[in-house]
């Protein structure tokens, strides 16, 4: 479980996060949603330590991550897997080398064991046999799936996904969403997905935290989201005419 308490973050005097708190349980898909500039990616980066919050704390199963030293953080980071918006695969490495990279760095497995793990991860994301391809030879959806394979290669306890559907067609987006949900349930990971994709919200949002202008405006599940009367949330989720019509049928 990950718990964030009263997170504040400013950049050059402009306050981006204004006291965000929340609890993200393991084995369920937790979503952070909000419009562009609402602070969701900044919150995610504060949680994984890419940004240092001005105040507040991030607790990984009771361990306060924010005051940790560089060396202490490494131990927590070994338990984190992350899928980036642009996949962030290493261009100079093949798919196999990308997935094997954390294993090379942090395990004493022999090459055969590592290759088996790579094959297992690739099979899990339905990309078996693509080991020798370079990222430049992959489609957007395949890159995301390799990103997921790399993220799960070390059996992470915590899985972070930054806009996993951006730039993907609706069908591929659903494939990625379902994959994230399956992995979360299968490995009991604490999964946090930052998104503004409404299919994801409705499809996999077991717990949703809605941010607006750097503040937490609402939290709940995808089943509850249709029944709120918070204007900011309704304006965001049901922005299109189609969604408005769909809401009326809920």
């Amino acid at each position: 479980m990950i718990e964030i308490k009263d997170i504040y973050k400013s950049f050059y005097g402009s306050e981006v996060l204004k006291g965000i708190s929340g609890k993200f349980e393991e084995g369920v898909t937790n979503l952070i949603i909000g419009g562009s500039g609402s602070g969701k990616t900044t919150l995610l980066k504060c949680m994984v330590g890419l940004h240092q919050p001005d105040s507040g704390s991030v607790m990984y199963d009771g361990r306060d991550f924010t005051p940790m030293t560089y060396e202490q953080r490494i131990e927590v980071r070994k338990e984190i897997g992350m899928l980036f918006q642009g996949s962030a695969l290493f261009d100079s490495m093949t798919v196999e080398e990308n997935i094997m990279f954390p294993l090379n760095m942090f395990t004493d497995q022999n090459r055969k064991e590592k290759l088996e793990r790579v094959d297992f991860c690739l099979e899990r994301v339905n990309l078996a046999g693509k080991n020798k391809l370079f990222p430049a030879e992959l489609s957007g959806g395949m890159k995301k799936r390799v990103g997921i394979a790399r993220a799960i290669s070390m059996n992470p306890k915590y899985l972070f996904c930054d806009e996993p559907n951006s730039g993907l067609d609706p069908k591929t987006s659903i494939v990625i969403d379902e994959l994230i949900q399956e992995i979360t349930e299968e490995y009991k990971t604490t999964t946090i997905v930052v998104t503004h994709d409404m299919n994801s919200v409705m499809g996999i949002g077991d717990y949703i935290l809605f941010l607006h202008e750097g503040k937490k405006f609402w939290e709940g599940s995808n089943k509850e989201i249709a029944h709120t009367d918070i204007k900011e949330l309704n304006d965001f989720v049901f922005a299109s005419r189609f969604m408005k019509a769909a809401k009326d049928k809920f």
């Binding site: 070994k78 642009g86 942090f106």
Partner: protein, 244 residues
Amino acid sequence: MNFTNFGRYILLLKSVFRRPEKLKIYLKEIAKQMDYVGVGSLGLIAIISTFIGAVMTLQIAFQLVSDFIPKTIIGSVNRDSSILELSPTISAIVLAGKIGSAISSEIGSMRVTEQIDALEIMGINAPGYLILPKIISGITMVPMLVIISMFLSITGGYIGGSVSGAVTPAEYIQGITTDFNPYTITVALVKAFVFGFIITSVPAYEGFYVRGGALEVSQASTRAVVISCISILACDYIVTQLLL
């Protein structure tokens, strides 16, 4: 570089020299970088050094037109100029353009495509993994390239002098073997070591802190080459002042 940048540069270097996570992987990366910096630059350095040596011989011969000055002096001047100044400094400036821009672009691209963030999230010391192998390859391969450059520059002078008739081969060889002070080689290697560090660390710093996209990466690359060249010339003066 202003003071803020200099401070960040020092802090980055502190991170670079942290204990590696796995030495074997770092050694593999160092070997790769040595191949790129050393072997990959050999052809360019060879061509430039040979021509500079040849041109130097012709220019020295042109300036020393006097019956009172023996022609053997052409070889001596060419030798000392090549060893002390031309080989280390010109090689370093050329390498700053070739290697420096490549390092800055590579690391900058990794930054804007979140590959550096991915390394950090995995618990890997990104400055160490990305920059340390480059610095080690710079401080080892640049001195080697400079030694080769010295040899080729002096050889180029021999060829240029012989072909043009500015100096006979015998006079040239007598010149380069007369009053040779081996300490000049030490000075040149100290310079090469310092330049190798600058050529790799300054562009790495510029690339590492890029913010934005493709435009900012190219701007960082240009800045890296300019700052490297100025730093090389400033350090050239300081090392010369200290050691000679």
